[in-house]
Amino acid sequence: MGEYTFQEIYSIIVMQSFGGVSLACIYVLMGLGLFIVFGQMGVINMAHAEFLVIGSYTMCLVSKFIAENAPGLLNYYFIFAIALAFVIAFGVGYLVEWALISRLYSRPLDTLLATWGLSLVMQQCFRTFIGAREMSATLPSWLMGSWAITDTIEVPLNGILLLGLTIALTASLIIFLKKTRLGLRMRATTQNREMSGALGINTKRTDRLTFAIACGTSGIAGAFFTTIASTSPTAGTAYIVDAYLVLVVGGLGSLAGLFVASGFLALLSSILEFFMAGSIAKVWLYVIIFAVLTKFTKGLFSERIRS
């Protein structure tokens, strides 16, 4: 890049790395819900992405509602919308577990099929009840634009928010799993159902809550996505592949793995996308992942357990 000054290249590198960070955040957010449902419960939820979309729609609709009825609140609705996104996704998740998943724990691959059907139904629901058109949330004014660190380095504000929220969400999730009674119950149940049952843990209920919370988390994640992308009935299909791939690369059931994988994928795609065009970059990203996985078939973070 002869024709550019060091200054320019330096600032591009900074901005590019920040772009990478935000992408990593997105991967993490996509993966968190799966990490619980798939990594912990072993349930393959093909409708996972639709729960993300639920979150996004909640955000959009709330912002639309506020914009029409109480424009004054437009700067603050964000927090409320996120909470609501969690509640709604949680509720739907709870229902789904009760109606569908709970009957299929013994047959993981069947869950895959059923949840695929579910995702189709959910997509059509979005289309029929909310509309086929693209939607997006009007961001609070303080969220738009960028923060110019120097006159050449500009960092997107929503990127910063995304980072903050991701950290917050993950932290609270970890605390929840490690510290609270419910969290303890969950881990116990996922590790040894019979034993936990014997110890008087209501495993049915725990499963239901675990699944619902996972969905809620996805809901929040989805709400965040509105800050950077659009929402449409089929928006989910764009996420599903990457979401699972991140989890697999990380190693199932390893939160640390999820982060490393997210970082790894984000770094990779940022570099690739900078030096080649979009589609081809994507191809190389996948190819590299496949190559890596041939070496680590159990993911980067698979602990060696006694057979």
Partner: protein, 470 residues
């Protein structure tokens, strides 16, 4: 400066002498005169003429244009009665035509990813058909619709097209949106010999006997728009960005050719500093934006399509690429997309289309009113939607000119068909290909998701196989 441009325009007009009808030259000359007087050279001062009702006409000699005829032969309200046109005569090929009705097909995606974009066309076509029926239908026959869902899936499009033509024997089909779906059904229409009215602006490189292209082919949208940017925005370096499929790629190919072969002649500084494509539905443009920042183009030329748009504009805004620092000209973002993107993210950029909902002419005001009455107040109307609305009317006029529903007769009669009070203004089917003469317009994105129309061309000749741009 002005003088220079004046002469250069004369030269160009002269050059086009051999090529185009004298009408065109006349138009060229007069408009040059008119134009040189209204030219404003500073990059960022477009007069907001649209408020005053009539538009600044910007003429570029790179495209052959004609002025729309002053006197319009309007055929809309001529009465036809089915009795004068016995079914046996008007329908010799066993189409679904009775003494009182004629059945047409409508083939769009109602489900799947494309449903978002195609809804508008469906609604517009239905509006047009309703209006035609209220005026007594076609050759005194009421139009009935068989609708099929392409489900955003190209094989399904082909399958449904076959069904409409073979099983339902429709008299013609209004439908398709993406190039892919058109390419999928094209062989069907050519083999079964039926007529498709295709509403989308598309890449050209095609001119089938069995298709009427009511949207603009690439050159009609691109070349004039680039010249406008060159003159009015004074842009010299261009960054071409598109979704990864044939229309954006072809469009950018034409754009690149125009910049490197024609604009360069005017000003050697003109060059393309980057050209990039991203998969449909791609939502992460951060790397691209950084590359743009590195190259600092005078104009970002965007052919990003569909859902990606939202991410694209939001991330531009977030990265501080706004209209006060950069110029962006798009040929792919209509009112429909802005609805999803949010006006605050696109404000101040430019779009080159042949139709904007805010067009000030009377026909359009009527059309918009009727559309909203039928489909609800909050519905928006984009370029393709309007093009969809043209289809049924053009078909009606063609059938009435041909005095027959037979496909071959229609195909023959199509050339020269006029639709005087089209919302976008006067349009006319070309004599030698199945595309429309139409006017390109430049619209400036407003915060409310509408456009301020700031420039208009004369009728641009459709040229699906542009010489020198291959």
């Amino acid at each position: 400066m002005t003088i220079f441009k004046l002469c250069s325009n004369y030269k160009k007009a002269g050059r086009s002498l051999g090529a185009f009808a004298c009408l065109a030259i006349a138009a060229g000359l007069t408009s040059c005169g008119g134009e040189s007087s209204t030219t404003t050279t500073t990059a960022k001062s477009e007069g907001s003429l649209s408020t005053s009702g009539e538009l600044e006409t910007f003429v570029s000699a790179s495209v052959s244009t004609i002025k729309s005829p002053a006197v319009i032969t309007d055929v809309t309200y001529k009465e036809y009665s089915a009795a004068d046109y016995p079914t046996a005569e008007v329908n010799t090929t066993g189409l679904a035509v009775t003494d009182t009705t004629v059945t047409v097909g409508q083939l769009h995606s109602i489900t799947g990813t494309m449903a978002i974009s195609e809804t508008g066309s469906v609604e517009a076509e239905r509006l047009a058909i309703k209006q035609i029926n209220d005026l007594g239908g076609v050759l005194g026959r009421k139009i009935e619709i068989v609708q099929e869902d392409g489900a955003s899936d190209w094989p399904t499009f082909a399958e449904k097209a076959k069904k409409l033509i073979i099983n339902d024997k429709v008299a013609c089909v209004f439908g398709c949106w993406t190039s892919a779906s058109r390419k999928a059904v094209l062989p069907v229409f050519e083999k079964e010999n039926n007529m498709l009215y295709y509403p989308t602006f598309y890449e050209g490189l095609e001119d089938s006997k069995n298709v009427i292209y009511t949207g603009q082919e690439a050159t009609q949208q691109i070349i004039w728009g680039l010249d406008w940017a060159y003159e009015k925005l004074g842009t010299r370096t261009f960054y071409l960005i598109g979704s990864d499929y044939i229309w954006p790629r072809t469009s950018n190919k034409i754009a690149r050719n125009h910049i490197e072969r024609y604009l360069k002649k005017k000003d050697p500084k003109c060059k393309v500093v980057g050209e990039e494509y991203y998969p449909l539905g791609h939502t992460n443009f951060r790397s691209l934006i950084n590359k743009v920042k590195l190259k600092k183009p005078d104009l970002i030329y965007s052919v990003v399509v569909g859902g990606s748009n939202v991410a694209w504009y939001k991330q531009l805004k977030a990265a501080g690429i706004t209209s006060d620092k950069y110029n962006l000209l798009t040929i792919s973002t209509t009112e429909d997309e802005v609805l999803g993107i949010g006006g605050e993210n696109t404000e101040g950029f430019y779009s080159c289309m042949k139709y904007f909902q805010s067009l000030p002419n009377e026909n359009n005001k009527k059309f918009v009113a009727a559309f909203k009455e039928m489909w609800g107040e909050d519905s928006v109307i984009g370029d393709v939607t309007q093009a969809g609305y043209l289809g049924p009317w053009l078909w009606k006029y063609t059938v009435e000119k041909a005095g027959s529903f037979d496909i071959d007769k229609i195909a023959a009669a199509s050339s020269g068909i006029e639709f005087a009070n089209a919302p976008e203004g006067y349009v006319k089917i070309h004599d030698t290909n199945h595309h429309l003469w139409s006017k390109a317009k430049i619209g400036k994105f407003l915060r409310n998701g509408q456009f301020e129309v700031i420039a208009e061309s004369d009728l641009i000749e459709p040229n699906p196989y542009p010489k020198g741009y291959q």
